[in-house]
Symmetry: C2
Subunit: 141 residues, 2 copies
Amino acid sequence: MEDGTFESPGYSTDTCADPFVWDTREDCDVRQILDRIADKWSLLVIALLDTRSLRFSELKRAIDGVSQRMLTVTLRQLERDGLVSRTVHPVVPPRVEYALTPLGSSLHETIQSLVAWTELHQDDIARARQRYDDAREPQSV
Amino acid sequence: MEDGTFESPGYSTDTCADPFVWDTREDCDVRQILDRIADKWSLLVIALLDTRSLRFSELKRAIDGVSQRMLTVTLRQLERDGLVSRTVHPVVPPRVEYALTPLGSSLHETIQSLVAWTELHQDDIARARQRYDDAREPQSV
DNA sequence: CTGTATCCCTCAAGATACTG
DNA sequence: CAGTATCTTGAGGGATACAG
């Protein structure tokens, strides 16, 4: 298992010496899952749910700009992927709790690392953008 | 009424007391940068460029399914954000090399961790999806 | 409260063609 | 080779209304 970088999936007879090319095919599972996880809303939901389980309305309030529809869609996808669990409390005003599953929790560390990086370097990026824009658009207005 | 859910932190001030709620606002830098980095193609480009610098056509070939346009757009964004450098060699057949900047390199570890997680758990996810789909669609056609 | 269903529209992105 | 420019499409996602 630790025999190398990322085990190059033998999906074809190409250069097996590739270090980081996990899989270049579009339909591969990794690409597909990556797209799901790296999703705008998924990322936020997972990060929020690590603190504690949250109700639908709590999530909606916590995530500025998310529509009811997109939150529902996102939660369904995460539930389907086994990252989030959905618990319905059969009370009069419906109460639904969302929580990370163990699988979802295992993702959280990575996501936090991504968020941490972003927080740490947001100024660098802002400066880089400034520099780039200045260089490309010297004509003011 | 106090927003009890997440102590709505003084956004104007700092959020140093919050564990994971980096910022809930839509227009915040972190959210914006996150969207950029977590982008479908950006992720792949950054991962690929860590190995070595690559030419435009090499990237295009390495990333299955990316259109010329999207690769160009992605590279421009990454360049603007200071994550990728672009070097034009003034030779007859134009030769443009893309490489990670130090800032881009610092991101790579995190991205690899995300990819590694995905590779590690893709089977779990596939099973979870199977279970979910089986439960929701018992009526076979 | 927690959704589902519908309509509708924007904008991301693919295809194509053309330049340096 | 490495783009840029244009056109077109379609799917993502918002708004709204309704149901359990």
